[in-house]
Amino acid sequence: MIASIPPGLIMILGAVLVPFLPARVRGAYMLALPILGLWQLLMLDMGSFGQMTLFGYELMHVRVDKLSFIFGVIFYIAAIVGVIYALHTNDKMEQTSATAYMGAAIGAAFAGDLITLFIYWELTAITSVFVVWAGRTQHAYRAGFRYLIVQVTSGVLLLAGAVMHAQETGSFAFDFIGIDSTGGWLILAAFGIKCAFPLLHNWLQDAYPESSPTGTVFLSAFTTKLAVYALARGYPGTEMLIWIGITMTAFPIFYAVIENDLRRVLAYSLNNQLGFMVAGVGIGTELAINGAASHAFAHILYKALLFMSMGAVLHRTGTAKGSELGGLYRTMPWTAGFCIVGSASISAFPLFSGFVTKTMILTAAASEGYLIPYLVLLFASAGVFHHSGIKIPFFAFFAHDSGMRPKEAPANMLVAMFLTAALCIGIGVYPDPLYAILPYEVTYIPYTTEHVISDLQLLMFSALAFAVLQRTGLYPPELRSTVLDFDWSYRRLAPAVVGWAFKDGGQIWAALIGGLQRILRGIIQAVFHLHGPDGVMARTQEIGRSALVITVLLVIFLVAFYV
């Protein structure tokens, strides 16, 4: 019986009960759901079930294979640590929507056809916007609306693409799609929005930092990694994705250096890390796909850990801005320590999780001979160490003393951070269990002297650059500011153009119409002058005069003819 429940459904249906439970048992209930779900997933056999027929097309609700399995496992783990991290809260809206959201993302990862995928895809959008709104500020409210529009657009594109794809291929099956058809392009655009491709990315940096400290931890794990999964399923080996991926790794890190809100810095570095995975999918070899999947696994953990540590800071001090923070290590030493573990993991230090996963993608890029992508990925690796590895812990917990002496994070937050940090180190030290569940067999050996030395050189010299810049005062200080990104085009430029078109544009329109009318009036007057009553061409003539004119013409004709 348990084997025939679609993964994720336990959490989606379980969410319905969440708001009706008393606060005391709600947390335990929410924690039981993903644990039960993970147990159920581990019980499932590889294969597909839940076959249906819709308008003559075969649908397959659930498909369990190695690729969906690894994403299912990490989604459940993220749900478990996320719920523990949020145990102290008592916000029914966030708790209910987050539970359903996590279930929907898990369901989507196991969808065997594009229609099922679309349903779960939209469900993640609709449920997660309530997690954004649970930030309960004006900013969160407005960012939530922008987020919703973007997410629903992605769903609409997915549905349109799915229908066209089914017409072209005769099947809704969610397997390799490719970009040889219009449907394939539309679906790629849908995935690209959720994966925060360049210029489609701003919903992420806009909405995530506006959510509550706990909400951001939930949000960070699912939507974008679901998109990575979908790309790995539908577009492996699509070379264009390499170039998109490396752009994603390089372009957000410039923003991460100058952004003040440390949770927004993390959102930029999330975007940068997605780039590594997208590039891995684009390379498409077994090593690269293994790299993308394992990096998604490791990334969900360390990114959640970093968001947890910044969330704890926000929870205790009321701000996550670099310009206001500093010196918190004195009273929040555990949080600082866990943050550093997350930083070391995202920076891919040997013995931390990022090292055993990211280097797979780098090695795959090099062994396929992709020179420029390889150099950009190296640059992005140094860059991510700069802003996530150093900047985040440095400005929050060290740097100049802010004078703030907040209490250490609540016990449940510490437990969640401890578990996540333990997993980050565990994967880094002993990657074999993770390697065992990757989509393809792993022959890659992470800990070779060469890998370790070159990685350490890159990182330590990058740290040296940071230290030199600090000591010479060249490093840009954290300033209270807004840094304009592409969202400026739809938050400021487009409204300005539309507003102008309605206001000043109206006057110009009137002037234009007025000018045209004057010209028309002139033409009509001229015609009236010639053809109107008493006009030259409309005057009546006597018959005799006509006869005379004709006679004269005839005479001229005769004379001309005989001469």
Binding site: A366, A399, M460, F461, S462, P476
Partner: protein, 98 residues
């Protein structure tokens, strides 16, 4: 606009309350020590390059200390470029609220 510059970090404004403990890392001397330890570690990593037999794919990876130079130079450029980007992209904190 208030600019809590990085020089401040090294000047260490004393915001500690009366009697609050001065930790090891709060002393300027020790921060300098950390820096010099980092320099030594970097030098050692460079030196280890001489002993390392490389199998890498691209020729430039065999150059002496390639990863170190690459990491240092590009990180430096990253920060300097971003700093210049501020001139174009930075607005007041309430930019979108106005």
């Amino acid at each position: 606009m208030e600019q809590p510059g990085q020089e401040e970090f090294f000047r260490h404004p004393d915001r500690r309350a009366e009697g609050e403990k001065t930790n090891w890392i709060d002393r300027r001397r020790n921060v300098h020590k950390i820096f010099w330890v980092l320099v030594v570690v970097c030098a050692a990593l460079m030196a280890s390059d001489l002993l390392l037999h490389k199998h890498s794919k691209f020729g430039f990876e065999h150059w002496f200390g390639f990863f170190g130079f690459y990491g240092f130079c590009l990180s430096f450029l990253l920060v300097i470029t971003s700093k210049q980007l501020r001139k174009i992209l930075m607005r007041g904190e309430d930019y979108y609220d106005r």
